[in-house]
Amino acid sequence: MMDDQIVRITSRLVAPFIQLYGIYIILHGHLSPGGGFSGGAIFGASLVLIALSFNLEAGIKQISHQTASVLESGGALGFALTGLVAIAFGGNYLANRSAGFPLGEAGQFFSSGAILVITVFVGIKVASTITTLFYNIIEKEEPLGNHKQTD
């Protein structure tokens, strides 16, 4: 959309780091501030940044429209199914320790059982929600890659 060298180079440099940071925040939700919502929002924002500073095609190459909506349903579905797994293990819905998920040692990366799984699903869900929303609002009528400059 924006035809500007500085913006392109800067965002190309910055975007991978933002994505890495987002993934870090999602995966360390049980150890440090953050979690699925914040990490997912950061990751989604980086995808939007790519789509914005190059064009939609570049953004769609990163994550296509189909994939985004499948991930979006899949994230929510995974969350709901994690709860059902707890029932299958003999706990109540969305139970963690009492359903027998291994907790591990608090402070280690692989600790806290179902929390990590749920956090990852929520992160996927939020990131794909943001990209889907952006694609759906930005792309209409006009053919791809041929957007007018907005003001």
């Binding site: 909506s69 499948v70 349903s73 929510a76 579905l77 709901a80 199914l81 709860g83 059902l84 707890a86 029932i87 706990g91 109540n92 819905y93 969305l94 139970a95 963690n96 009492s98 359903a99």
Partner: protein
């Protein structure tokens, strides 16, 4: 309290999962996505029936989500009143969904029907969860879901009015949700709990230390639920929204969505607020007067309408106010009437909106004055409309009589003759605006000129079922009333 098995949460999760996979399925196998949601709705209705047989009329079961006991985790409670409401929600939504399978093809774009199924399932899931939850913040989250889905099933139709009406509804209900959140924050600040039962025992102590905070919270709750349930001065969004929406959505919104909030207000009055709070400030009195005004003004506005669906929408305002009057009178008989009216009105108004939808489907006519002689070409929809009108007026043999009868008994019991007059006057007004349509449709000499399409089978079946339900709720009411009598003793 004993444990309840996993049924209460399975109702919600089943519907949610079907909602998540319906749009994915719709891309490849169109037929399957409707079937999945239909199966989930049927499953939830059957589960609700199982819960009824399990809980009986007096016991109450509790389900701890994540195995955390109440003040720490979220609790779902199954008691007789909630099971009754759950049955109404799941049953009526199943019934409307079968109607929607036939009607949607002509009202919506082909691409969006999968999304409609998904939104519908989430709406039903949120409503069943609202009836079951015993946690204020959980109630807030569910109200949010319910508000967005209710908006979306209006704006999904490809017409300009729908966008306008949906946007108005979105703004108003967002305001209501905001008020509710503020009230929850205030309650949490002075009690430290979010669970209904714990708040109730803590609130009577907090009333001496923080009276103004609690009064403000109560006022905010009334505004929040009043906006969402279209209590009289806050009803402005309802007529546009319900008239513009596709017919299954109108039936859903008028039949269930506004009532779920009335039920939530009832729960908050009797399960969250302690008796001492209701005695200190006349909350019931405020609700009662607003309800009485809603009954009158809703009927008067409905008389002035020329559009069929708009008339039904204004009639909803006056009928929902009956439920609020039942809560406001604060007396077992009146509460029985109000709660029974939830079911009766869900049946009746859904039948009326469905028959209006069938009329619009097969002829395209919406104006009341153009309906002369239509009864000869569309006998079944108009017959359903007649039965529904009879129940609205409160003729013998229909459910409308029973609920109004118990409400009237409640007014006599408390000695408030004025409100008895309001109920009688509203019946008269209902007769004034429903009867001419029926008489005009069947008995006027003129021929109906427009072209007529055949009504699909699923719509015919659901219309017939609607007639039967309205009549059954009038004739076999004794069981339900006894059920209420046992259930309501726990409140006083």
């Amino acid at each position: 309290m004993e444990s309840a098995g996993h049924q209460p949460v399975l109702i919600i999760v089943l519907l949610l999962i079907s909602a998540f996979i319906a749009p994915l399925l719709y891309r490849r196998w169109r037929f399957l996505s409707g079937a999945v949601v239909l199966a989930a709705l049927t499953g939830s209705f059957i589960t609700a029936l199982l819960l009824l047989s399990k809980s009986g009329a007096s016991s109450s079961l509790s389900y701890h989500l994540g195995n955390w006991p109440p003040p720490w985790g979220i609790e779902l409670i199954i008691d007789p009143l909630r099971v009754y409401m759950l049955l109404v929600v799941t049953g009526v939504s199943l019934w409307i969904f079968i109607y929607a399978l036939g009607d949607l093809k002509h009202e919506l774009h082909n691409d969006v029907i999968g999304w409609y199924y998904s939104l519908y399932a989430v709406l039903v899931a949120s409503m069943s969860a609202i009836t079951l939850t015993n946690d204020l913040f959980n109630l807030f989250v569910l109200m949010e879901i319910c508000a967005i889905t209710a908006c979306a099933i209006i704006t999904i139709k490809d017409q300009r009015e729908c966008l306008e009406a949906g946007f108005k509804y979105l703004i108003m209900s967002a305001m209501g949700t905001g008020c509710f959140l503020l009230g929850v924050a205030m309650i949490y600040m002075v009690t430290g709990y979010l669970n209904y039962s714990f708040i109730q025992s803590e609130l009577s102590l907090a009333l001496t230390d923080y009276p103004l905070n609690i009064f403000t919270a109560a006022a905010l709750f009334i505004v929040a639920f009043g906006t969402k349930a279209a209590l009289f001065p806050l009803h402005v969004w309802l007529p546009d929204a319900h008239a513009a929406a596709p017919s299954p959505s109108s039936a859903m919104l008028s039949g269930l969505v506004i009532k779920i909030y009335a039920f939530a207000l009832f729960m908050i009055f009797y399960r969250v607020f302690p008796r001492s709070l209701l005695d200190t400030i006349p909350l019931n009195e405020i609700i009662l007067w607003l309800g009485a005004m809603g009954v009158m003004f809703g009927s008067i506005y409905a008389m002035l309408q020329t559009d069929l669906k708009k008339m039904l929408a204004y009639s909803s305002i006056s009928q929902i106010a009956f439920i609020f009057m039942g809560i406001g009178l604060d007396q077992p008989l009146a509460l029985t009437g109000g709660l029974y009216h939830i079911m009766v009105h869900a049946f009746t108004k859904s039948t009326l909106f469905m028959s209006a939808g069938a009329i619009i489907y097969s002829t395209g006519v919406r104006r009341i004055s153009d309906l002369g002689g239509i009864g000869k070409v569309l006998p079944l929809p108009l017959f359903a409309f007649t039965i529904g009108s009879a129940s609205m007026i409160g003729l013998p043999g229909t459910g409308g009589l029973i609920s109004k009868w118990y409400l009237a008994l409640g007014t006599l019991e408390t000695g408030r003759i004025l409100f008895l007059l309001v109920i009688l006057a509203s019946s008269l007004l209902n007769a004034i605006y429903y009867m001419p349509i029926v008489i005009n449709a069947f008995m006027s000499g003129e021929e109906f000129k427009e072209k007529v399409k055949i009504v699909p089978l699923s719509m015919q079946v659901t219309l017939a079922a609607g007639m039967i339900l309205v009549v059954i709720s009038g004739i076999f009411s004794r069981q339900v009333i006894i059920f209420f009598e046992q259930a309501l003793t726990s409140l006083y």
